[in-house]
Point group: C2
Chain length 315, copies 2
């Protein structure tokens, strides 16, 4: 089985490079740190890398400063965590430098392209961190509080605090074991969901006033002017899309975010039974059946029209 193959390959390696995707989320960062810190306790040399910086609210995680944007050194093996497509590693993966090394692809996205030497892809897992926990168990690695914190952060963020339909008995069981191993659930929940600026409230106020709902699709657009007006640097909107999905009768929720350089970031969420990952993939993105996204070039109004048409076909 691929999990056992991943475990034995990692057990034999002594210099490990761990990578994750651009624009990292709590599962990407948590999985990298959880695996990285655990492998170090087993005496291995570890380098952890991500093209984009660790989001501010995850800087509290032990080892977060260790994640570098330009990895260098000699390695025996490369691990890719939470990445569905090699391209999503961005510039931390150099074919010339690392192409000859075994590449372990560990991921829970159903859209995974199986680009590794060994591919362990489990779409049933609620988070890649859940898989990393299984892997460490398979390897007989001890789960210390710092590792437990990072992994529980991955599970909590990817399940929106155990609220997604893929939060199985196994997920809660893993969470409990991580809590028992010393992870502080309250701190993790607070960092993930209860940490926003006063101006973020004002952003929600403005966005909620703009929300539109038609035929089971709810959407809102976020022009850059609103962020600038509120002097918000980051545009992390703290779960607004999940709040929109919770409106009675809604099957799909979508947020259109205007990015610099004429790009529009589009996020999708859907209720079980409606697979938004198909639309995301069609438009050049990826994700899960109930949570996906893509990025499109173009004018905000044009992109909205195009995307909403695609979504309508889905229902």
């Amino acid at each position: 089985m691929s999990k056992e193959a991943v475990a034995s390959n990692l057990s034999e390696a002594s210099k490990v490079l761990i990578l994750t995707h651009i624009d990292p989320d709590g599962d990407a960062i948590g999985s990298v740190l959880g695996l990285g810190l655990a492998l170090e306790k087993l005496g291995k040399k570890v380098v952890m890398a991500c093209q984009d910086p660790v989001p501010k609210r995850f800087l509290y995680l032990p080892g977060s400063q260790r994640i570098v944007p330009y990895p260098y050194g000699y390695f025996d093996i490369v691990v890719s965590l939470d990445v569905n497509d090699l391209k999503r590693l961005g510039r931390v993966y150099h074919e010339e430098l690392f192409g000859h090394l075994p590449l372990l692809n560990i991921d829970h996205h159903i859209t995974n392209l199986h680009f590794g030497t060994i591919n362990w892809v489990d779409p049933e897992a609620a988070a890649t961190a859940e898989m990393v926990f299984e892997l460490l168990e398979e390897m007989g690695a001890p789960i210390e509080p710092d590792v437990a914190t990072c992994l529980l952060n991955g599970i909590v963020t990817d399940t929106q605090g155990f609220r997604t339909p893929n939060t199985t008995v196994k997920t809660l069981e893993t969470a409990l074991r991580l809590q028992k191993a010393g992870a502080n659930l309250y701190q993790i929940m607070t960092q993930a969901f209860n940490h926003h600026s006063f101006n973020m409230l004002k952003l929600w106020s403005k966005l909620l006033a703009r929300v539109q709902l038609k035929d089971g699709i709810i959407w809102v657009d976020k022009p850059r002017s609103i962020l600038q007006e509120l002097e918000l640097e980051e545009d992390h909107d703290h779960g607004l899309i999940n709040f929109l999905l919770g409106v009675d009768g809604v099957k799909i929720a979508t947020i259109f975010t205007e990015k610099p350089g004429g790009e529009i970031d589009v996020s999708f969420r859907s209720v079980p039974g409606v697979d938004v990952s198909t639309v995301a993939v069609k438009l050049g993105g990826g994700g899960h059946p109930q949570a996906a996204g893509c990025r499109l070039k173009g004018d905000l109004e044009e992109v909205k029209k195009l995307v909403l048409e695609e979504l309508r076909k889905l229902l």
Copy 2:
């Protein structure tokens, strides 16, 4: 120990009246139904009562239609669940009718007044439903899916989905066992947190625009005119207060809701280390250190001034 005393008293009883507090929340309803349905499986005759109706979003719970506003019949014993003060039972508790019966007081509020014949009060418990689960275990009662659903509903709602600081290893362990016993965590989470009307979004938009923040206290008032304008019947605001508490630097969050008849409902939330239950009790209410409330007569502006002054003394 009081848990064992409660268990043996209940085991011996054959006709049980189960009561909970006015204005019931998800823990009150979940605990009553969880205990009631489980006792019925043990062959007991059970009547469940609450002065106020079951909130709409908890009507999906098995047995919810069984909760009556006027209990009648002959009983061996009365159980009070999730109630800190006998007065909070409202008109379902008649001293003349039930005063001669043993009264089992099962509650997790630190402000509990120990009004029962036997008082089992555990402020460490995250929810009364967590205690009911323990009690059923002590009694050797089987936990079937309907009972598990009701109890997990209590835990999920009272911990805001495992987000409160009192979500211990025991809490998560209980949740896991209830999930394994057949409770559908996703359904429970969705009913509790992802179920609101489109106009609720508009309510949030309007309220967030009114929010004020000063010296670690954040607050908003909810005049009746706003609810009327949006044609919202119920004023359940779906976690707005927790969202306010998550603003960086905030120690206390407060919402003032104008009720019919010149009353103002005041809710408090606080970060660990700040005990808002003391202010709530002082003003005639009750609750937990981190979540409390009271109801005051008077004009909205006067009440705000009075309450904010009390809160300022706390910091």
